[in-house]
Symmetry: C2
Subunit: 316 residues, 2 copies
Amino acid sequence: MPDKVLIYSRLPKSLTQRFAGRFDLLDSGGKPAHEVFPADEVAQIRALITAGGTPLGAADMDRLPALGAIVCYGTGYDGVDLKAAAARNIAVGHSPGANAAAVADVAVMLMLATTRRLTVADAYVRDGGWASAKPSPLMKPPPSLAGCKVGVYGMGEIGRKIASRVAAFETEVGYFNRTRYDDLPYQYFPSLDALAEWCTVLMIAVRASAETTHVVNADLLKKLGTDGHIVNISRGSVIDERALVAALKEGTVAGAGLDVFETEPHAPDELTSLPNVVLTPHIGGNTRESHVAMQACVVANLTAFFGGEMMPYQVK
Amino acid sequence: MPDKVLIYSRLPKSLTQRFAGRFDLLDSGGKPAHEVFPADEVAQIRALITAGGTPLGAADMDRLPALGAIVCYGTGYDGVDLKAAAARNIAVGHSPGANAAAVADVAVMLMLATTRRLTVADAYVRDGGWASAKPSPLMKPPPSLAGCKVGVYGMGEIGRKIASRVAAFETEVGYFNRTRYDDLPYQYFPSLDALAEWCTVLMIAVRASAETTHVVNADLLKKLGTDGHIVNISRGSVIDERALVAALKEGTVAGAGLDVFETEPHAPDELTSLPNVVLTPHIGGNTRESHVAMQACVVANLTAFFGGEMMPYQVK
């Protein structure tokens, strides 16, 4: 009999169908399992698949008494209370790097789109403004990327792929990361403040955690400056969204490209009504190849767990 | 007395003000000079500044009897009848390479935006579709760029900058160009057909001319294939726009990112109503630095001409 695996987050069927052949999936559609499945079935659940950003705390774990493995679909695991999992001897796995290229692509797309004002430009063509010689919303030419200072916050697999892509645009690349890497050809800054002071475009690629919550606040945005742009493909929690909205409205910063938000799937109205932002619905890792790679990590983690072995992609 | 210079195309004042201090500008706002200025003044015009794509034929030249220099603002000069100019001993200048980085940036932006469906994604967030869990228009994950075959048509300064940027996305880069360059690390294809057959994303960076008019036609788009995307930052004339619209509607190709159109500033309604295109109003070279560089070329060309010397950036 196949092992039972709970689908803990609301995940599209198209993403979980690959697991259905291997495991007996209990998909609660994002609801708590005990509200959807009978107690005796819930009691047998030894493993679950979750989206890393979905809250999964001690109380949630306690409702799944047989739980031994939490497997995150994707690289993030910020929703999982790692201490609570460790205290219950629950292993946590993820899919490191599997989506790094796809996420880095979206980061660069958002950087280009916010600095060159792509959505405003597209609307100007589509609504006939250009054809009828209406005053262009693009009259003030933006600075070139060539020679521009781009700061990358977080130098994990995604940060590295962002940096190597951005460098090809003839930019200067700097970074801040807890660890300094001497093998990287980019300028190191000892703090996020120093990086923001230096750069014009700030790319957020840091792993979300309690320490990084709201580190991008009003003060930091001021350091970025009125010509500054911010791009976030990490987690919404890293940016104080209210402070960002205020800065975008007041012109403290020039623009933002955001793939992630504080309370997904909700992007606040104050944000969605702004012209100087480009917004995408957390599509960073959403490519065919990165789904295949992430699913392979999930299967490998679950197979190892049910085989009594350590997960190959375990969170340390 | 400063030399008289006609502003031949409709150009924003913000772009021509740098010339006003050096030359006596006659700005006809895009109308024929003889309709706006007295005949004796028109007869004194020895030089003009034009946007390279604006038609400037033998008859236009003959209405400016003293004309000795045509100076294109930007790299293109496809609107200028070079034979007619040569026959009248009129030198033609341009601004080669000055905007190459800025144009290449837009090319990559359009590549990312069409493959990752940026404008559809932005609209899905802004109109509340994501927040209210409406079926996502992005459910089908697109292929990753990493490993994708990108073809560059035209390997001049802009094509080279496109290729070096695109390569940083872990793509395979191929190109077709009249001349094969052995110093380039990209695969060479002996024809545009062969390139289109091979690649998934086709980037048009060829110089527009009579030979390249409508070389991207229905047959070529079929070679690109149903997964294929096309990006054009060169000139609208290179693509048979009707054939492209038909291919986009029928799904013969997947999407397009266009900064240039056949009859600018008009983008046809059949194009602007499509969801699988990203459209920008010829903003390729529109950055502060590239305007400064293009203006420096214009000033250098005009200064040399009025000084009786050969223009430093003369079209051969």
